[in-house]
Symmetry: C2
Subunit: 314 residues, 2 copies
C-alpha cells in the first residue's frame, strides 16, 4: 500500500500520477480537510474535491478547482436572490456538495460520504479525509484572523500571513481507515502541497504524526517550492512571512523529523548537498507536472526513490 498525503492542486496531480502507476487497491490518498467550510448551507471540501475530480479525470485544469466545463447557472440565481457569491461553485460542483451535505446530515461520516462520492465517479484508489471531525485553518494577519477561504478566495491570498492555527484540531483524530492504511503503508509520500495549510493540518491531527513516524515504511516528500517559488498559490509568500526559508531546503527542514527522502526539482540540484546535511536522501528530478505523462513520470520516480530508501534501510 502506497499512502499519499495531499492538499489541493499539486497534491492532486501527484496523486493522479500515482494512480497511473499503481493498481487502485494499492493507493490511498489522505487529504487535508481543514479548508472545508460551509456556504449556502452546504458543506464544501475544496481539497477533497480537487483530488477527487483530478483522480476522476474531470478536474478543471485552468482554474485548479471545480469540474471541467462546469456552468454557473445556480450561482447566478443565488446572486439574483441577493446572495454574496464570492465563493464560486459550479453546477456540477453543487451536485457534489448537495449529496455530501445530505449524507452528513443523515449521520454519515465525511469518510463514508467521500467513499460514496468516489464510487459514483468510478475512482479506484481510496480517498480519505484526514479526519471526520470539522477542523478549520485560521489565517492570522496584522488585521486579525481570517477563515481560510476568506483569506484564500475572497481576499485572493493577498494579506500577509503572520501565523496559522487549526481551529478544533485538538478534538480531531485520524479515522480508523487512516490509521489502518498508515499501518500497512509500504511508502508514504508527502505530495507537493503547501506545507503550512495543506500538509500542515494533516500532520497536526493528534496521533497522525506519530502514526507516520512509527510506520516502518520509507517516507518521501516532494518539494512544492521550485527555484524559490511556489508553482501555484501563496506557499512561497506564506513561508517567507512565517520566517521559513523559501526553498526546497526550507521545505526539507520542515519535514526533517518525518521523511528519509526528499525529491527536489532539477532546478534546485544545488540544494541537494545542504538537504543531505539535514540527514535525508535527496533526488533531483523534473517535478513540474504539466500533463498526465509528467504526473506519471514523477510518480514513478518518487516510488522508485522510496523503494531505494527501503532497500537502504533494510
Amino acid at each position: 500500500m502506497i499512502v499519499a498525503l495531499a492538499g489541493g492542486v499539486g497534491g492532486a496531480k501527484l496523486a493522479h500520477g500515482l494512480a497511473q502507476c499503481l493498481t487502485p487497491e494499492n493507493l490511498t490518498v489522505i487529504v487535508n480537510t481543514a479548508d472545508d467550510f460551509e456556504i449556502y448551507g452546504l458543506r464544501v471540501c475544496p481539497d477533497l474535491d480537487t483530488v477527487m475530480y483530478t483522480l476522476a479525470g474531470i478536474a478543471n485544469a485552468v482554474t485548479g478547482w471545480g469540474v471541467a466545463d462546469d456552468t454557473f447557472v445556480a450561482l447566478e440565481m443565488l446572486r439574483t436572490y441577493g446572495e454574496d457569491t464570492w465563493f464560486q461553485i459550479g453546477d456540477k460542483d453543487f451536485a457534489t456538495d448537495i449529496l455530501r451535505t445530505r449524507m452528513l446530515a443523515a449521520g454519515r461520516t465525511l469518510t463514508e460520504a467521500t467513499r460514496a462520492l468516489c464510487t459514483g465517479l468510478g475512482i479506484g484508489p481510496a480517498l480519505l479525509p484526514m479526519c471526520d471531525q470539522p477542523v478549520a485553518t485560521v489565517i492570522q494577519t496584522a488585521d486579525g484572523e481570517l477563515d481560510f477561504q476568506e483569506y484564500f478566495v475572497r481576499q485572493h491570498h493577498e494579506p500577509t500571513v503572520t501565523g496559522v492555527r487549526y481551529r478544533d484540531i485538538e478534538t480531531a483524530r485520524p479515522s480508523e481507515p487512516v490509521l489502518a492504511t498508515l499501518a500497512e503503508a509500504e511508502a508514504i509520500v508527502l505530495c507537493p502541497s503547501n506545507p503550512i495549510v495543506s500538509i500542515g493540518p494533516i500532520l497536526a491531527v493528534p496521533g497522525m504524526r506519530n502514526a507516520i513516524i512509527t510506520s516502518a515504511a520509507p517516507k518521501v516528500a516532494v518539494s512544492p517550492i521550485v527555484a524559490g517559488s511556489a508553482l501555484r498559490g501563496p506557499a512561497d509568500r506564506m513561508l517567507e512571512s512565517l520566517g521559513h526559508e523559501v526553498s526546497a531546503h526550507g521545505i526539507a527542514k520542515l519535514y526533517a523529523d518525518l521523511v528519509q527522502g526528499m525529491v527536489i526539482d532539477e532546478a534546485d540540484a544545488a540544494l541537494a548537498a545542504p538537504i543531505r546535511g539535514l540527514g535525508m536522501e535527496v533526488l533531483a528530478a523534473q517535478t513540474v507536472m504539466r500533463d498526465d505523462r509528467s504526473r506519471e513520470s514523477l510518480a514513478g520516480t518518487v516510488l522508485n526513490f522510496a523503494t531505494s530508501l527501503k532497500v537502504a534501510a533494510g
Copy 2:
C-alpha cells in the same frame, strides 16, 4: 386586500392576473404546501415555487414547473453519482431549494423563507404558505398509499386515486400572517386549482375553513374544470375516481358551503342554472388563460364579480 388561494399552474396564472390588476400591497396569495417534500436533502415546494416564479415572470410556461430556460447540469451530475433523478430540478431551481433549505435549517419558518425568496425575485404581492408545519398529501390507490410526488411525477399521475389524506394536517395551523390577511380580506378567490390536492389541503388546515367562512368578504371560486375536463393535470380523473361529478357543477358542490359565487367557463354556461340551485351566484366567462392578457382579463372579471356579490350582500 384581495386574498387568493392557489395550488400549481392554474392558480399561479390567476394569481399573476390578479397581480396585474391590483397594487402589490392589496394582494396576498395563500399557497398549498402539502405537495412539499424533501429530495436530494433539499426542501422542495413545488406549488409555492410555481406561484413565485409565475409572479416573477420567470416561470417555465411549457413544463408548468421550474424556471424558464433553466439548465439541468447539477441534476445530470447527480445522475452521474448514481442518484435516481426521477424528480427534475433545474440549476436555477436548485438555487431556490438550497436557499430555502438553509433558511429552514437556520430555524426560520417557511413563511419567512418564502418572503426572503420573493424579495430576492422582486415580487410585490405577499406569498404565504398555507402553514409553517410540514403537511403531506398522501394518495391512496388500489396498490396502497403513495407520497404525492411519487404519484404525480414518478408515476405520471396514472394510478387511479381511491382516496386522499393529508398527513400531519392535525398538527398544522394557519400562520399569523394567513389569519391576519384573511381577517382583512375584501374578497377571497379560490383559484382554478385542483380542488382535492391543491385547494383541498389549504382548506383542511385546522382553523382555515372557519377563518374563511367567518370572513365578511365575498368568496368566489373559479372552476378548474372546463367542459368536463381539467386543462392540465389529473383533477378530472381524480374527481371521477373519488365519486365526484367531473364538471363545474361538481366543483361548485365541493365549495357550496364556502363561496357565494362561482366563475365557470362560457363552454359550461348550461351549468349556470344547476349551480345557482346550490345557492350561489354564477358568472360564465372566458376562463382559459392562454397569455398574460387573458390572465389579467379573467382576474378583472373575477374581481368585478366578487364586488357585485359584496354589493348584493350589503
